[in-house]
């Protein structure tokens, strides 16, 4: 990330390019170089069986395909969103073997045998996951683009609290963490919402945490 140290720098690029402020300057500069060089070497293909939401699909993919692109472009599961494509915004968050990860920073071929859950696997419009219902009830979004990532992240974050995994704001490393607002804000910091629906997102997660307790 750009790093904090770099606010002036990012702002300059922001003015020039008009891209999201959390993207690195390098991320903005890259596409031309990427296109120019990929033409040189032929892509390498690899077969992989992916278990997404309980359904196994056999794919033959360019090894460069991220899990995110496999989901969206090959399996047409477009619920998972591409924001920054560099692990900075959290829109691509999915749950792999029970843990949330950024699907943009992992290769599809590295996930043979893993159980991947996307927003489509958590619930359906007719049968919403409690976290999905809570986001609707508390208005935990505006444009909705970051929402699938927020919801997958929130579901896994509550599991992390239940498993006793501490966070940066846990006062006592040896105590069991609780789903307080401060804990939720810290644990959800990997999911950026440009509409700023954060306080409603915390309310939604708090409600689900309360229900689970």
């Amino acid at each position: 990330m750009p790093g904090p140290g770099n606010i002036e720098f990012s702002r300059r690029n922001l003015l020039i390019v008009g891209a999201a402020s959390f993207v690195t300057p390098g991320a903005i500069a890259a596409p031309t170089a990427a296109l120019a060089q990929t033409a040189a070497a032929p892509p390498a293909l690899s077969k992989v069986a992916l278990n997404i939401n309980g359904k196994v699909s056999e794919l033959e993919l360019d090894t460069r395909t991220t899990l995110l692109d496999a989901l969206r472009e090959h399996l047409h599961l477009t619920g998972t969103k591409k924001g920054c494509d560099h692990g900075q915004c959290g829109a691509c968050t999915v749950i792999v073997d029970g843990r949330r990860i950024n699907s943009c920073l992992t290769l599809a071929v590295m996930h043979a045998g893993d159980k991947v859950t996307t927003i489509e696997g958590l619930g359906t419009p007719q049968n919403l996951h409690p976290m999905q219902s809570a986001f609707v009830k508390h208005d935990g979004y505006q444009c909705g683009y970051c929402t699938p990532g927020q919801i997958c992240s929130a579901v896994a974050a509550l599991d992390e609290i239940k498993a006793g995994i501490p966070s940066h704001v846990s006062a006592d490393l040896s105590a069991s963490p609780q789903a307080t607002a401060a804990e939720l804000r810290e644990r959800m910091s990997g999911n950026i919402c440009r509409c700023g629906a954060y306080s409603n997102i915390v309310d939604a997660i708090t409600e689900v945490a309360g229900r689970q307790a």
């Binding site: 990330m1 750009p2 790093g3 904090p4 140290g5 770099n6 606010i7 002036e8 720098f9 690195t24 300057p25 390098g26 991320a27 500069a29 890259a30 170089a33 990427a34 060089q37 990929t38 040189a40 070497a41 892509p43 390498a44 690899s46 360019d62 090894t63 460069r64 991220t66 494509d85 560099h86 692990g87 959290g90 968050t93 843990r99 949330r100 990860i101 950024n102 920073l105 992992t106 290769l107 590295m110 992240s153 896994a156 974050a157 992390e160 498993a163 006793g164 995994i165 501490p166 966070s167 940066h168 846990s170 490393l173 804000r185 810290e186 644990r187 959800m188 910091s189 990997g190 999911n191």
Partner: protein
């Protein structure tokens, strides 16, 4: 991203041998730094060796009463390990201060140590950068250098090492265990693991070509209060401007390492006897010979004040 062949390693020794033999080969662990850089064509390996299946993901007690942390242990698991929380709280705290929940679930011990700088000019392929393209110059000298190094820098590079975990490892006297392409193992003290930039900022560690990290070991616990304080531009999910990792004993003695100030986790053992005399005395020794730029000179005072807060917290 440049096309690459993908292979899963079968054993540490085979992985190291293959990485040395195949031109342009790289290991991939969590992928959270390497893939980021590959997308930007800052890293362009033609061959990826996936080390995730190597069963290097255990945390064990050593015969000396210390800990052996597998190279593939995820940052989340290490930070949450009961023994680490009890005996090496500094390490838990440092890891929990870094990145996000999602990233820590993927990031590994070895990958974290080897993550590359966040210098914005290193990330911008249109800029000269001796680390990315040796001999091309350094755009940070005379550029925006607010987040850059204040000690140990050179005319060739003023980048910092971005890891939080590595700063705690330095304070805890960790040792990096590796296997070399010929199958032999070696141990590298963390103090010698990361290099200062000198004339060759593209050479960042003591690792030889193909050398694979298998584990990081910690000596037996040293007790004391473990405090990691990270100062950054927002409360969470940002790299450090500076950070202080300290273990302070009841009599005021202790050890301290700094993050965000140098090309490597920064520790000056000779300054540590000054810790009982307070932050001003200790940071003078820690930051002796500092060469800040106009934009990052604030880091000197920030270190002193943060160390002061750490020492106060340790006494409480």
């Amino acid at each position: 991203m440049k096309p690459f062949t993908y292979e899963r390693a079968r054993s540490p020794a085979e992985a190291a041998a293959a990485a040395a033999r195949i031109q342009g080969a790289r290991f991939i662990a969590g992928g959270t730094n390497l893939l980021d850089l590959m997308k930007l064509q800052i890293e362009t390996p033609g061959y990826l060796i996936d080390v995730n299946g190597l069963a290097l993901d255990k945390i064990e007690t050593t015969p000396e009463g210390g800990m052996r942390i597998g190279a593939l242990v995820r940052n989340t698991d290490l930070a949450a390990d009961d023994r680490v929380r009890r005996d090496y709280g500094l390490l838990s705290r440092a890891m929990l201060a870094g990145a996000s929940g999602q990233l820590r679930n993927k990031a590994t011990t070895a990958g974290n140590l080897l993550q590359r700088t966040r210098c914005p000019y290193f990330y911008d392929t249109n800029q000269p950068c001796n680390k990315r393209r040796p001999g091309s110059g350094c755009a940070a000298l005379g550029g925006f250098s607010r987040q850059h190094a204040v000690v140990g820098a050179s005319e060739a590079c003023i980048a910092t090492h971005p890891s939080d975990m590595a700063v705690a490892m330095r304070a805890l006297d960790a040792t990096v265990e590796t296997v070399r392409p010929d199958g032999s193992a070696r141990s590298i003290p963390i103090a010698e693991f990361h290099r200062l930039p000198g004339d060759t900022p593209h050479i960042e560690t003591a690792l030889a070509a193909g050398e694979l990290i298998t584990a990081v070991t910690l000596p037996k616990p040293v007790g004391g209060k473990h405090i990691y304080r990270k100062v950054r531009d927002r409360a969470s999910y940002a790299f450090a401007l500076i950070s202080v990792a300290a273990v302070i004993q009841r009599d005021g003695s202790g050890r301290v390492a700094l993050g965000g100030v140098a090309h490597k986790p920064w520790r000056v053992e000779a300054a540590e006897p000054d810790l009982p005399r307070g932050a001003k005395a200790a940071s003078a020794g820690l930051l002796a010979d500092a060469t800040p730029t106009r934009e990052n000179a604030f880091k000197l005072l920030l270190v002193e004040r943060t160390l002061g807060a750490v020492l106060t917290e340790a006494r409480a």
